[in-house]
């Protein structure tokens, strides 16, 4: 039987699964760190870039990163490559990577 404690832990996952437009919600997702490391190839190790067009992501506001990625994905904001990249991620993955970068000092 599920204890309340466990149920509470499950709630965020359930909420994501119920969101519309999430093709791969049922699939396991990579950790924020794994996802963030793939961003590092353009945005710098740990999201710290140096004086380049690709901005640093380290310490970014969580909501700001979620909004940016979602806007890119839905083509509400234009960019050189981020529109194409953002289309590869669901809401849960965007939240995980936003958690990861927002916590880096």
């Amino acid at each position: 039987m599920l204890k309340i404690k466990n149920l509470r832990r499950l709630l965020p996952a359930l909420a994501f699964a119920l969101l519309p437009g999430m093709a791969t919600a049922q699939q396991a997702i990579a950790t924020g760190k794994m996802l963030g490391n793939t961003c590092a190839s353009c945005h710098g190790t740990h999201g710290k870039s140096f004086d380049e067009y690709m901005p640093s992501l380290a310490g970014i506001d969580r909501q700001q990163l979620i909004r940016s990625m979602t806007d890119y994905r839905e083509d509400r904001r234009v960019s050189v490559v981020m529109n194409r990249i953002a289309k590869g991620y669901n809401d849960a993955e965007i939240a995980a990577v936003a958690d990861y970068f927002s916590k880096i000092k």
Binding site: T24, Q27, A28, I29, A30, T31, M34, L35, N37, T38, C39, A40, S41, C42, H43, G44, T45, S49, F50, E52, Y53, M54, V80, V81, R84, I85, K87, G88, Y89, E93
Partner: protein, 429 residues
Amino acid sequence: MNRRELLKALGAGGALALLNAPAMAAAKNKTAHIVIVGGGIGGATAAKYLRLAAPGVKITLVEPVKRFITCLRSNDVAVGHMTLDDITFTYDALRARYKINVVHDRVIGFDPDKKTVQLDAGGKLAYDKLVVSPGIDFIYGDVEGYTREAAETTLPHAWKAGPQTLLLKKQLEAMPQGGTFLMVAPPNPFRCPPGPYERASLIAEWFQKHNPRAKVIILDHKDAFTKDVPFKKAWERLYGFNTPNSMIEWIPAAKGGTPKRVDAANRTVIAAAGTFKADVVNYISPQRAGTVAFRMGLTNREGWCPVNRRTFESEIVRDVHVIGDACVGDSMPKSGYSANSQAKVAVQAIADMLAGKTPGEPSMINVCYSLAGQDYGVSIADIFKVVDNRIVKLPASGVSPITDSPAQPLLEAVYQRNWHRTFANDCFA
């Protein structure tokens, strides 16, 4: 009977269940040693990210050269926009900042049972996990007349940056006015799928300035290539492609572009489409996994290294992970970005395995900017997941959109240069 022999006797499945607890204890009790063979993009990234993931382990990187030259941007070197120094990186930061033991040597022997690699200078390295990032080597003699000697003297492939790049540069500079540059583009799969077409573009652009009546002819083993739509649009805009005065002529396999015979001394390539005598022949050889992978017995019949796609552990030898151009990557191109991304997945898997955990979910990206001209970039951006042990490209992403706005290709060219700097730091610094 030691643990390894017991494992063998029991068969992997049952043994794992039985021995999981003692194995975990062993991993905790002694410092694990991870040996990395090959210090290119994949190997350097693996070394650095292993240190970030597992501060306590011992890491040794074995790489013959002391200064690594990236293939990335070597086309710019061939036409004089950059120098080899601009694309040369050292192992100083890996040593100093990440405490990697970098050994400049060559692996000449391998004992997968005793888990050791033999170094050329003598001595063996015992490993708990081995990462092999061997890159590519070339297949000579695929057509009559094409030999290693021809490649090294008259028909440079320039597909590993360094002396070959400079040889191609020298030949271009020595071309007579109105001469012909002939490229043979390799069959799939090969390192850097857009590379031949970027090179053809940059050479056409260089001809506009230095040799305006010269021509670029591409003989191709294939009928399509990556980013061909934006590349051909750029060629129309910049080099008169599809007009009688086009500086670039592309002859696909369907139109007889596949080379049949080479006459190296006369710089001539014979194909069904005709006999092509040129002033410079850039014969980009067919490719296979780097030689060390063959020596170690990690390759399949096609000459590449089959791996578990979630961990990049070899399907042939346990505790050996193969990353980068040499591995079988399904829909993932053989690119520097892919090697960097695969290294991070292998690192996650190794760190999880050493901690006695199931390897976490992988995620990978490939982004690749190419120049169709110094101010004209085209790109591809894809996200990859692993489904049923295959690397699957998610459908939504893809190549640069074609628009009438000059801003898109201009910005892509700017990003291209920005990216090379940041990317090299992610691998080496």
